[in-house]
Amino acid sequence: MSLYSIAWKYIWGRLLASALTALSVALGVSLILATFLLTRGIRASFIVGATDYSLLVGAKSNPTQLVLGTIFRMDVATPNMPYSVYEQLHDDVRVERAVPVALGDAYQGFRYVGTTIDYFAAAPWRRKTFAVAVGRLWDETPPEQPTYEALLGAEVAQRTGLRLGDAFYEGEEMAEYPLTVVGILRPTYSADDRTIFFSLASFWGMNEVARNAAVKPLTTVLVRPKRLSDLPNLHREFNVNPETQAVLPSAVLLTIFNLLSVAEEVLRFVLEAVVLVVLLYLFVALYSAMLERRREIATMRALGARRLTVLLIVLLEACFIALLGGLAGLVGGHGMAALGAHLLSQRGGLALAPFTVSALQPLLLAGVTLLGGCAGLLPAVLAYRTEVAENLAPLS
């Protein structure tokens, strides 16, 4: 027997009450952890997705819509611009890399993106890396010879069950132009996991208007200048152009983050209220337990337990409950974050890692245990001050 086992026995002796108290702690911890993981994940996901390319060039429209649509596959696609914009950027000596992107329809909710294989090319400045898990990239062909070869993002393959060699299409009108799976990408933990890629030739071939148009349409060009100092000029030139706009993803990111900060602040207040309520609940639970247990505490004291001993038992009990609640909360928090990440991925095109483990989890656990101890302090003092003779008197 030890003080730990005494505290544990008391928790076990009031199983339902202890479980409910631990559950309230778990809910609080879950909310805090899930909120933290999601907000941090959203920020990280935006940063990873939006900072590889310094400039996005598209048709005149809402700049945020251009960034969200092109990079995160959110929102509706912006209007098209001529393919010649890409050619102009591709030939520009100030540009290190220009990648054309054409946003199309979707298959089972997974967006079609027509692009070139440059989209997947590695570069020292890229945060994101692509690797083909099985199969290969499509063969680049001239616009008049589309191959309709598709490269699937990891999640697309997983969710649709499509495998190499499978042909697929959505809608009877597309039956004439089925896509064939030639490769599946490794997970990138970004919106690309939820995307079906193919060549621009295939993209135009599948689109009735584009198929016959002399000027091929394009949604966006991703641009990486050779020197950062060229960025302002490029930005200005394509904004002055009446057909195009140039957007700095980092500026849009800042706007998004500002909006997020407001939401985070509101969430912080809510979480602070939750923590306060949980602590109060823990305190009330322990306090009422102490009131019920005065006779037992008096008995312990009569058996020779010192005041400090009974104080420690109550504190340990509070810490145990908080620790158990904290552990359950960590599991619940990751679960909530996984659910949130799933929703964000489905509706928002953001790919989050809800099971990321960092110093946060042990810190949260230590913090909640410490706060549990603080909530148990007053009940512990009540136990400490229990009058032995008074509480040993036979019950009438």
């Binding site: 027997m1 026995k9 008995t299 058996l303 010192r306 003779a389 036979p394």
Partner: protein, 238 residues
């Protein structure tokens, strides 16, 4: 022949409880009380005469308003509270009227608790010793039972085992048979008597039951609320 010093000695002990408006209610006034080693003493008296207070004073649970209380040669009144707690755990076994077993713990654990608080018995021996004492009291099949799973008689025997856990020289029993039927009360009294005789323990028992008087070395009668007096029938006068 050299006389053995008393194991419990009360000298000029007074106990008062504060009332309203600065007044005190004096419940005990004991000029002198000596309990000799290995004796079996029965304390009797009407309700409110201070019997439980007397036991609490000897156990060091309550401090006297004035006077000195010595147990096994140690002046309890001069000990700081933490040492008094430790001393009580090691030197005094206390048996309560309502048993006061701790509900979440099994019979063995209830006995081990007393050893944990006293810290006089090595940890690795505590369980073994608790099992032995409980077995001696006929509870070998009830070791893993919680108080709620035991009969009242069994609960009281667990309480006795707990009081004996640290092998204390003094056993205090506050109406240990009050909640028991006559037959079970007889078993409990016999167990206490046997402890006194076989283990040479000093037993001080508060009891209303005349059966408790059987074999008593001395009987203390608390006649009224303010003082303790002995009976004039040849037992003791204090």
């Amino acid at each position: 022949m050299e006389q053995t010093p008393p194991v419990v000695l009360l000298q000029a002990v007074q106990k008062s409880f504060p009332l309203h408006q600065g007044r005190d209610l004096q419940v005990l006034d004991i000029p002198q009380l000596a309990i000799s080693v290995g004796s079996y003493t029965v304390v009797q008296g009407p309700s409110g005469s201070g019997k439980t207070t007397l036991l609490n004073l000897i156990a060091g649970i309550t401090m006297p308003t004035s006077g000195h209380i010595r147990v096994s040669g140690t002046d309890m009144t001069s000990l700081p509270e933490p040492q008094r707690d430790r001393f009580r755990a090691a030197y005094i076994g206390y048996i309560f009227q309502t048993f006061n077993l701790l509900a979440p713990f099994t019979a063995v654990e209830n006995v081990m608790l007393a050893m944990l608080f006293a810290q006089t018995i090595p940890k690795r021996e505590q369980r073994q010793r608790a099992v032995e004492i409980l077995s001696r009291l006929g509870l070998s099949t009830r070791l893993a039972h919680r108080p709620a799973q035991l009969s009242r008689g069994e609960q009281q025997r667990v309480a006795i085992a707990r009081a004996l856990a640290n092998d204390p020289p003094v056993l205090l029993a506050d109406e240990p048979c009050a909640s028991l039927d006559a037959a079970t009360a007889q078993v409990v009294l016999m167990a206490l008597h046997a402890m006194c005789r076989e283990s040479h323990k000093t037993v001080l028992i508060v009891a209303h039951d005349t059966a408790a008087l059987e074999g008593a070395d001395q009987v203390l009668e608390m006649r009224d609320i303010n003082r303790v007096t002995g009976r004039p029938d040849g037992v003791d006068r204090v």
